[in-house]
Amino acid sequence: MKTDRYDCIVVGAGHAGAEASWAASRLGAKTLLITLSRETIAKMSCNPAIGGLAKGQIVREIDALGGLMGQAIDATGIQFRLLNRSKGPAVQSPRAQADKYKYADYIGNRLAAADNLTIVEGVVADIITRDGAVCGVACKDGAVFHAPAGVVTTGTFLRGLMHMGEAQWEGGRLDEPASNELSDSLKRLGLKLGRLKTGTPPRLDAATVDFDKAEVQYGDEEALPFSFMTDRIDREQVPCWVTWTNENIHKLLRDNLHRAPMYTGQIEATGTRYCPSIETKIVRFADKDRHQVFLEPEDEAVTTIYCNGISTSCPRDVQERMIAMLPGTENARIVHYAYAIEYDYVPAIQLRASLETRAVAGLYLAGQINGTSGYEEAAGQGLIAGVNAIRKLNGADPLVLSRDQAYIGVLIDDLRTKQIDEPYRMFTSRAEYRLALRSDNADRRLTRIGRSVGLVDDLREQRFSSKLADIERLTAYLKSNRRDGKSLWQLLKQPNSNLPNELADDETVKGLAVSGDVIAAACIDAKYEGYLARQGQQIAAFRNLENIKLPPDLDFNQISHLRCEAKEKLTAFCPSTLGQAARIGGITPADITVIQIHLKKHTYANHSTHPRHI
């Protein structure tokens, strides 16, 4: 029997596991990454793209903190676009198509080369604990690994059940086995599991697609990098294509609804509202005569095509007929058929803000297992879980990003205070302090935090410091130079000002030798200055409640006058701050006041001789 000792074991090497193991090892901890196969490290099991609205901000945050995802997509992206370009900078997000094979290779290579990190192949079947704390994992083949910290990032593998029409079979992903043992193991540890579903569209052999029949869509002329460490991307970009479904396809799907597990009741778990299957679309939006289908290359050489927009649980023959009716793909060969998958997840209200489970000390969960959707959401959690697993070993306070600091903070806070009934995906509207949580300023929000926890290396720190200095110099110049009686800074606040475009060619600005990033940052700062000040006041108010920490041993059932429903909710969600308690659905302001009063009473009881009766 193989045994070994580590500081931290990461189970699963998807996007969460990759960042978790990278972060843990970067913090100097002896880390073990266990994956089903080295081949599937950072595999893009669904959409071959990184970023997108709100998700792009998360990637920038991961990068600013010292994570891998930003650099990986910069190195392997085949088409880059800045979304919402016509809208304000706060809601602009980078998105890129990836060569999914190169992307996975890139991450795999970075992890393989990382200090302190060992990668083994294996199927983890059990989490071993002692006295309520994790102490290792046991694999199916009998191998046992010991560590006082573990991060479980098993994605959709827990009791994964795949559906394709009438057919269903156990599996965690296409051609990969499900993990039923680990699911049982988590249950034994006292964790409650829920069930979610997601789906994928068919993939086509690109050589058999007639792209001339579809509308071509190019990337941005100048590719904007995700990583603050990337200067520019010179790679030639690959186009995508758009085609549309038609009435014939809709009829086909309608006629075959009884064969779609979504509708037959074969799939019991909840699906997503934001990414519905094509059969759901034609039922829910029956008046729409066509739906967009993006034909997205999965690699630089364009060998396979991902049909973004027609994820389905329909059987093979329906998929084939649908593809045969879709303009451009009439003669296309399906390489991988679409499927839907149901899987176990662990409702994240069972986690602490550090992503550690409340049930088992030292056991952290990250990614789809927590009920999220998307590579970016998974990676963000992975990084936080990896950092916190090691910080706990070192006796340090956990890294908890606040809602006003990062989308990652919003994400984890939402998971812990909201009832999740569909895979959670990030949107910019989830961030109430959106103007402050931008893609352009992710480094200014988080690099110093990444530095303080030990993830940000010297090179990134130096780069960041010099960028900060540049922004300061440029800002000083803009504030002190006037045109038409107004400072340039003030002029930048005017709507539709062309000044941002002129600045790059301005002789004095050239003399300052600042980068385009720096100019953009200063212009956004000027535009949003007044509004950010407003938002600053809201943030200050938000922090008032957020700063009131609830004692970890607080028994809500012992608080007199708290409504029964409130007691139940609070006990279930176990908020760590009063602000979090206030955000839990069904908790009223009166409940919060009662808790406040209780806390105050507690303080009186402990620290003063305040008379009970006058």
Partner: protein, 463 residues
């Protein structure tokens, strides 16, 4: 900071001066309320958990008749066990009773009963404020307005507008988060138009609302008469279904207030000027303060209904009372007309006309006789007196804080519309969120302790 776990006690709604007798109400709220009350109250029968128990209060060597009203948790006003002790006693005795009770319960702070009602989810914030207004308001119309708040009319209006804001906001958010879907969720013009419409609705709310101060000028009708003249019955008959909550809660508010009279053309406030004339209680002692308050109310009234018991023979007391009322405002109302036959009625009516130099309206609350014509008479007189005041009653009364909230919401909405025109949807969304949140503050706020204590310190003790 308030503790909500212990049992509190306070004296409320009493009209007592010097050693005169007056009605006192002592309220006790908390899990020990019944036990605390038991320290001073001896029931005639088994003390019931719910309802009314007659008995006596015994302190030192003194024994006073008293009635105990028990309201059990969670249906009581405070959501806790709540006891009210009603009794007539001189001020020094009341003090003695309180002193005895305070050995077992804590003296309530200002507004603490309402605070508990709020914390226990019995009322929302704007309702709590409405209660504050009831207590603070000396004019019956303020009371009416306050009751509208209680009924949640402002809350309802605000809730409807909030929904509309949320609708626009969500469409704008959709435009930001799902711009790649190729759908236009909300056109710029449509967005600004909708926001404009919401803004207008709020402006109307502001314009159509009355300040509490303004209501002091609204018409009022006083009910005068000797005791046992049938004032209460007449009052109930006049107010009918529209009768306000206040008089239901016997003597829990100022003795002079009764309610709002809903008439066909107008509304007016109806005062019961108890305490006028001779002895109201068996003790024969008259509460000077109550009499004074009543006299002031009569003086301020636009119209006074002088109730005279048609069945009695000696009208000297009634004549005495009529002298305190200006002629132009007096309406003579003969009550209990059903006790006499038609002939006697006619005779007495003629006698009264001569005595008071005014023809009485014959009424009977039992048969309903004369009630409608009295209502019609009041209606036409008041309308003549105060042309244009009619529609005022239907407006929503808004206090200073609500006014500020609505004005601030309008400000945010205008800013939002402006940002949409500039194409800055993300900034517009921020303003819309602010508008929503500010307006939500009418009933729902994350109130920190300071704000909370400020609101509730505006309350009198005990409601």
């Amino acid at each position: 900071m308030y503790d909500t776990g212990d049992t509190i006690c306070a004296l409320s709604s009493t009209v007592v001066a010097g050693n005169m007798l007056g009605k006192s109400i002592i309220r006790i709220s908390g899990s020990d309320a019944i036990a605390v009350a038991g320290e001073v109250f001896c029931p005639d029968e088994q003390l019931r958990r719910r309802g009314t128990t007659a008995g006596m209060i015994a302190v030192a060597d003194i024994e006073i008749d008293a009635t105990l009203y028990a309201f059990s948790s969670p249906q009581s006003y405070t959501g806790q066990d709540l006891i009210e002790l009603h009794f007539f006693a001189a001020a020094c005795v009341v003090e003695l009773v309180m002193a005895e009770l305070l050995a077992f319960a804590r003296q309530a702070g200002p507004g603490e009963f309402t605070l508990r009602a709020y914390l226990n989810g019995r009322i929302d914030l704007s309702q709590a404020e409405a209660v504050a207004e009831i207590v603070a308001g000396s004019n019956a119309f303020q009371l009416q307005a306050a009751q509208k708040l209680l009924a949640g009319k402002l809350s309802q209006t605000a809730a409807k507008i909030r929904e509309e804001i949320l609708d626009v906001l969500s469409l704008i958010e959709a435009g930001l988060d799902f711009s790649t879907e190729g759908i236009t969720f909300l056109g710029q013009d449509e967005a600004t138009e909708t926001i404009g419409r919401i803004t207008q609705a709020l402006k109307t709310l502001l314009g159509g609302s009355i300040r509490y101060e303004e209501m002091i000028d609204l018409p009022s009708v006083g009910l005068a008469g000797a005791s046992n003249a049938g004032k209460s019955s007449l009052l109930n008959a006049l107010l009918g279904q529209e009768r306000s909550i206040v008089s239901d809660q016997k003597a829990t508010t100022r003795d002079v207030l009764c309610g709002v009279l809903e008439l066909e053309k107008c509304r007016c406030t109806l005062f019961d000027c108890a305490g006028m004339g001779r002895a109201e209680t068996d003790s024969g002692l008259l509460d000077e303060l109550a009499a004074q308050t009543a006299a002031e109310a009569i003086k301020a009234a636009n119209m006074v209904l002088l109730c005279v018991d048609l069945a009695k023979t000696d009208f000297s007391e009634d004549i005495e009372i009529s002298r305190t009322i200006h002629d132009g405002e007096l309406v003579l109302v003969a009550t209990k007309a059903d006790l006499l036959d038609e002939q006697d009625s006619k005779r007495k009516s003629a006698q009264l006309t001569e005595l008071f130099d005014s023809q009485p309206v014959l009424t009977s609350t039992r048969s309903g006789r004369g009630i409608d014509s009295l209502r019609a008479l009041i209606d036409s007189r008041i309308v003549r007196l105060t042309a244009g005041a009619a529609e005022a009653a239907d407006r929503i009364a808004i206090n200073q804080r609500h006014r500020k909230v609505v004005a601030e919401t309008i400000e945010h909405l205008i800013a939002a519309a402006g940002q949409i025109t500039l194409g800055n949807d993300e900034i517009a969304a921020m303003f819309l969120r602010s508008a929503y949140e500010v307006l939500a503050g009418l009933e729902k706020e994350y109130i920190d302790e300071a704000v909370l204590e400020r609101i509730f310190s505006n309350f009198c003790i005990g409601k």
